[in-house]
Each structure stands twice: as C-alpha cells, then as structure tokens.
Symmetry: C2
Subunit: 455 residues, 2 copies
C-alpha cells in the first residue's frame, strides 16, 4: 500500500529536463496514407475485414449489436478485434522511503504530441514475441518469468468498449529493490510527481493512467499540502480511501446493485464481416459513417527513430470529436463519494462496467436525447472544478483521441438520491473493485488516477 506518496516532496526540474531532451532526440512523422499503401495489411476480399499478413496485431471487423439500452437499440459498426493480452507494467522502487515509478518517454503514432509519459512496459504479445521483428521489450523480465519482482498489482482490465471487442490488458505494478540498469528513454519519478503530471494536458498516457488507478493506496497519515484542491476536499478524499468506513452503501449493496444492472440489460453482440456493417462506407482513405459520427478508420505511415522498428504503416481509429469524461464528487458525512454509472458498451466482456458520471462526445447525440448530467458538467461553476485536463486515449490504436477529464465537486444541496443506474461510491470501494477485472471501465479508471492526484 502506498501511503508516502502524498507527502513526498518532488525534486525540482528533473522531469522537465529529461522530457525536453527526449523530445529533441526523437524524430517522429505520421502521415495519412490511402489503404492501398498499407503494406502488410489487406482487406479480406470475402469479409472486408482488415488484417495484418502475419495474423498478429489486430483486425478491423464488424460488430452487430442488439440491446434494450439507450436511444439506439440496434446497430452495426466497425470494431477492433485484438485477442491477445498485452502487459502494461510500472516498475516501482523506493528511494529514500519515497516510492518512485520507472516511467517511459514513448511515442505513439496517434498522439497529438507524439511523445507521452508511459508505463515501464507497454507491450502486446506481438511486441514481445516479435511479430514485427523489432528489438526486445526493455525491462520485460521484471514483469514476466522466474526472476520478476514482487507483484503488487496484476489484473486484467478492459479497454474502450465502443472501439474494442473484448480487449483486456494486464495491468501490473512490480516492486524491485536492487539496481535497475538505466536507459535514456526511462526515468525514475516520484509517484506523487507522476500523479501531479496528470494535470498537464496530453502528457500521462492512457496506459499509465489505468495502471496508476489499480495501485493500492492507503489513507495518508498527514495532509499532503497538495495545491490541486481545497483542504476540505482533500480531507474528504483521504477519508474516502478507507475500505469500509463512511460509505453511503456498503460494498455488498454496491455489488448487488451492479448485479441487478447486469441482469436488467440484455445485449446480443456478434462479430460480423466488416463488409456487412450497415451505414458505413469504405473509400480509398477511410471507413466512415455517412453522417460522419462516432469515428473513422484511417491508415498512417509512421517514421520514428526510437521505436523497436524505425518505420511502419498501420490502421488507426480516429474519433469524430472530443469527449467529456467526468465524475461528479460529493462529500457525504465528510467522506468523498463519486457518482458511477453502470454503462453498457458492446465490446465489454461482460455487458456492463462502471463508468464515469458522464462519458460522451456531444456531437454524436445530435437529434438524440442528451446523456444525463452532460449539461450539468458543461455548465459547472469553475470554482467547483477540482480536476480539468485533456488526456489522450491509447495512441497506438487511436488517432488524436483526446477527452476532457473533469472532476466536479457538486453543491451541498445536490441530491444524494440518483437514478437507478447510478450510485455514489467511495474511493476505497473503487480500490477494492479494482483488484478484479470487469468492474471499472478505462475512462473511470483514468478518473480514479486523477482523483489520487488530488488528495
């Protein structure tokens, strides 16, 4: 359990210096190309599915969905199908009693700023079994195999259920005590500083955020003096880290509600050939909906100097707009609670996971009922906003996928009573659920990491 993180002072300037140097050292060019220049990838003439010639990486297929949830009850869409499970791992080591994380300056083709702060290891099995004939995955031996370190976190967690079919990644935190060979693309940063950096737009990548969210944090013994939130909110968050005390509903009730939500929704999801997805068109440059909503599938050419292979071409999914991902937070009897939403996404392994209070790209809802609480979030009093930054989704699969992540502390008279598919829960309860998969979606996990930056 990490308790020291909150009180760790940060060494001035070390990160900025390393980061600027890394940005200067690496070249990275990403250019959209037509599909017919996508060497090593091809559309199957029968199904229309897009696959790599090795059979590895991922495929773009079709998904047909029928559900009893939301304003649209039946649709089909392209989906990324990636069966293999990758490792997202952060190596942790204590320096002078202060936990540090070995963070990586990693380029991904879809990142708006190319370089983002990433976990120590971020590798699909294709990466580390070298489907693409690149170099070995650095530091992998600390996470897999007989000589790995002490495992603090090791859990499969889902990724975007609207874009991926049943994707899970292995979120790991491993502690070491001995010397770790240095490398210029990696830097030991205090855990507290990594959390602080979440407040910088598009810096800490999605993979780092989900691993951070799974870290076991114990309530701090003293106030951190964090500059990010008023002291009353910080204290309410710190109390909220306790596993049991002060929760509006006990964990059994939360689990029972979650079971009820899964039972209430029936969703039939089937992979179909991409060529049979209705309402989407494939041109020389993209697969897109006629009305331009949701996302496009495009192809890019990538030239990089610091990746395992210096250049490659690949498809990316480009969302149609920027979303809002928000937790409403409320102190109940002095304990901070956040309002989670039981969300149905077609790519979830098990139908429903807990998402943020709001998770929506507004443009996709033109002509449809707006998602609940979206208006409230967009019109929130700036004085009540405790976290507010643009953060990117995984740049290895998504092109310029930025969302505005927000935590809003609601007014005292904001009702505790909520609709049946929402529940107020504590950080401690979310921590207990995060030991297991299938509970929190990736957007909610990102926001949990953001919450940990505040106390």
């Amino acid at each position: 359990m990490f308790t020291e993180s909150a009180s760790a002072t940060r060494p001035a300037g070390r990160f900025r210096e390393w980061w600027s140097e890394r940005a200067r050292a690496n070249r990275f060019n990403v250019t959209p190309i037509p599909f017919d220049e996508l060497v090593d990838w091809r559309f199957d003439p029968e199904t229309g599915n897009l696959a790599h010639s090795s059979g590895g990486f991922f495929t773009i297929e079709g998904l047909h969905v029928r559900s009893d949830y939301g304003p649209v009850r039946e649709w089909s869409q392209p989906i990324i199908n990636q069966a293999e499970i990758g490792i997202l791992g952060i190596l942790v080591k204590s320096f002078g009693g202060v936990p540090h994380c070995l963070m990586q300056a990693k380029m991904e083709p879809g990142n708006v700023n190319t370089l983002q702060l990433s976990p120590t290891v971020q590798a699909t099995r294709s990466n580390y079994t070298r489907v693409h004939r690149g170099g070995r995955t650095r530091y992998l031996e600390y996470f897999a195999g007989p000589s790995r370190g002490r495992v603090l976190v090791d859990v499969l967690q889902s990724e975007q259920g609207s874009w991926f079919y049943r994707k899970r990644n292995r979120n790991m935190v491993v502690e070491v005590t001995g010397d770790v060979p240095p490398h210029e693309d990696f830097c030991w940063l205090p855990l507290r500083e990594v959390l602080d950096l979440l407040h910088t737009d598009n810096l800490v990548n999605m993979d780092a955020r989900t691993v951070l969210s799974c870290m076991p944090f114990a309530p701090p013994e003293a106030d951190s003096g964090s500059r990010h939130a008023p002291v009353a909110f910080r204290r309410a968050l710190a109390r909220s880290l306790h596993r049991s005390a002060g929760a509006l509903h006990d964990l059994g009730d939360v689990l029972s509600w979650f079971t009820e939500e899964k039972t209430r929704h029936e969703m039939t999801v089937r992979l179909i050939p991409a060529g049979r997805v209705a309402g989407w068109r494939r041109t020389a440059h993209e697969i897109a909906r006629d009305d331009g909503r949701h996302f496009r599938v495009i192809a890019v050419n990538v030239e990089a100097s610091s990746r395992e292979v210096p250049s490659w071409r690949q498809p990316l999914l480009a969302p149609a707009g920027r979303g809002v991902i928000a937790f409403l937070a409320k102190s109940i009897e002095g304990v901070a609670h956040v309002l989670v939403h039981a969300r149905v996404e077609p790519g979830f392994v098990d139908t429903v996971e807990l998402g943020p209070t709001v998770q929506a790209i507004r443009e996709n809802y033109a002509g449809l009922p707006e998602p609940r609480y979206l208006d409230y979030v967009l019109g929130a009093d700036p004085a009540r906003i405790r976290f507010d930054a643009y953060l990117s989704e995984e740049g290895g699969r998504f092109f310029d996928a930025q969302n505005r992540y927000v935590v809003i502390e609601v007014e005292d008279d904001f009702p505790v009573h909520c609709p049946p598919d929402y529940r107020w829960v504590t950080l401690g309860q979310l921590g207990a659920l995060l030991r297991h998969g299938h509970y929190l979606n990736v957007q909610a996990r990102s926001l949990v990491a953001c919450l940990h930056s505040l106390w």
Copy 2:
C-alpha cells in the same frame, strides 16, 4: 456470515416425511420424442439453429473454437445459447437462532429421479415474465423489487462452459425476519441439514449447490461433531475458512497466478450456424457426434402436475457418460487447502475459471492423454475419501447428467509442489473470490458446497 450452522441440531424426520409426500403427490412423465414432434420449436432452415417460436428460452447453435490449450486445438460443437439471466435464490430465516433455508421440491425433466431439492426461486426471466404463459413465480417478490429482504449474496455465476455459451445465473441469498406464507412444495430446513443432504445421491440440485457455495460462512466457534469427516480434517477445514490466516499463497499471489493463466491461453470462440458444425449429425431423434462422444441433443415430452404449466416439449442435452469431479485436499500447516485447476472452457465469459482438481468424463478421452490426477482419484484409498456422492447437473437443460463428486484428503507426503496451472488455496480464499463472478466454475462451486458439509 453463518456460523451457527455447524452446531445446529436437526429436527428428526421432518424432511423425509415432507419429501415422500411430495414425491407421491406429483406425477411426472418424460418421454423422448423425435424433433418433428417438438411443437413450438423449429430448426431454422438456413442456419440449422433450434429455437422456440417465442424467441425466448434458449437456442441450440454451433460454436467454433480455436485454442492453444489441451489435446484438441480446434473443434466445433453444438452449444446452448441462453442470453437471459435467471435468478437462483434461497430465502433464509432464523428460527430459534438457527438459520433455515426455504427449499423447494422441484421437478425437472432431465432429473433421473424427477424431484430434487431446489432453491426457493429458480426461474429464468422467461419464467417470470411468463413467456410460456404459466403461473407466477412463487416467492419472487423476496428477491426482486422494492419489498425484497436483506440481501446477503447477489452475484452472477457461470454455468457449464462446455455446454452453455456464456451463461450466467444470478445467485442470491436473501434473509427475512417476518412471516412467509407456506406452500406444500416448500419446506424450511436447517442450513446444516441441507448441507448434510448433499451426501445423498441426486437429491440437492445443481442450482441449490451453487447458491450454497456462495453463502458467507464464518469459522465455527466449536466443533460441529459432524459425522462426515474425521476430527482432524474438520478442524483443518474450519481453520481454512479464515480469509487470510495460514494460506500457502496470499490472495494477491493467487490473483496474479490467475491473471497469468488467463494471459497464457488464447482462445478464439465464435458462434456459428448449427448446420455448419463439423463431425456432428442430425437425425430425426438426435444431434450427435459420429463417435458418440461428449453429448447428444434430444427432444422430450414432459407431463407434470406441479409445474407452472402442466405439459410441454423441449430439447435437452444428454451427456455421453458420467464424469468424475474431484478436489484433492491437503492440510498444510494444519489448514486445509484444495487443489484448484485453471480451466479453459469455450463457453466461459472470460476464457479461464478455477475448476476442480479433476473434472472429466473418462470415455471422452479414449485415444487422448488422460487428464492429470484422474488416475489418482479413481484409485484413491477409500479411507481417504471425505465426500463421495452422485449429484445431478441442472435437470431443466440436461438429461440424466450425473457426476460423481469426490473430495479426497491426500497422503501427508503428497507434494505441495504442483503443475503451473494448479494452485493450493483455502476455503476462505475461495469464499473471497465467490463474492465475484468469473472465478469459480459451477463444478468447483458444487464441491465448495460439499466441503461446507464436512466441517
């Protein structure tokens, strides 16, 4: 948490009297019929899938499986697809400080003895939303809706992953304090007596067993005096109920191993039209493999007097033989551990769940390598067998599906070291995992209920 159960004395004879009376009172005739007499069900001419005309209940479809696990790496098979989630609920009430369960004498067409001891509520959504236009589901209001009792257990658990496609049922235990209107098909039995009855062949049905396994048991304060096992084993089991003390591996290590096992196996599973399942043939009376292995799909006519509807016709899955389902148990430092196996079954929602040490129908392995530990179990010294009974799988879907459930306490010199896909775990650890779905398969859950009958 139930602690009193172990020391509750049982009222003599009450169960037997009620049970004999119920068996006399109810008529039940099950007759195999050809598919073309299966009124209201039809094979889709294009796909060959077998479905009910209402669209409800379940369908028989095909499944194509490709995996990197086991002696057979690619196959297709028929599978039961039942998207809706049913409720399996036991109502609990304390009489004189002794917890009692409201158990039901319920007939199912596939049961060898027609009548088995079942949960208070055992109903698919089709049942209680009356797809088949029968009567209402008795006692459902205690489990669903605004006036339900205090929820002790509420979790979605998987069912047979070789026969069902991603089936889950909602396992519930609800406690009441007020009066409950009686009905002749239902009887309040002490929890301890229900557990004792597990030792009678084909009496406590699968649905009751899985709910019993999810009950939160606390370690008993005094020895129960149970006649089922020697005192040393009873004490080792009682110690094993503690959530943390004395486990060979702590829960974090068990979860990490489980994650590793999920990551190691890649399995691609797709529903296909039943007509495209290779190696299976449909005749007028059955869908079966050419070599007769695994199972057949048949149709039956059912005449009953005590069911919601007096007669109906339906398909059933008839397994090709009787299986052995066994836990090896071992005291390690005085704490009982059982050897769980990370099993891959194609119908699991998430690839791998923890199964018994042995789960196999021997006949299916002719010409293939035998499952590990099967020989050991079949040749075990009778003096070391702590549980041994034939128990039936769900008679609403399976025809004469009996398995021999066995718990064997291994010799002191039996190695603690085990193959990588096996782990020794305590009952307390299994209890912690049973708060969540996706961890224990239904056969392992049955054995957990059997273990609770022993301490």
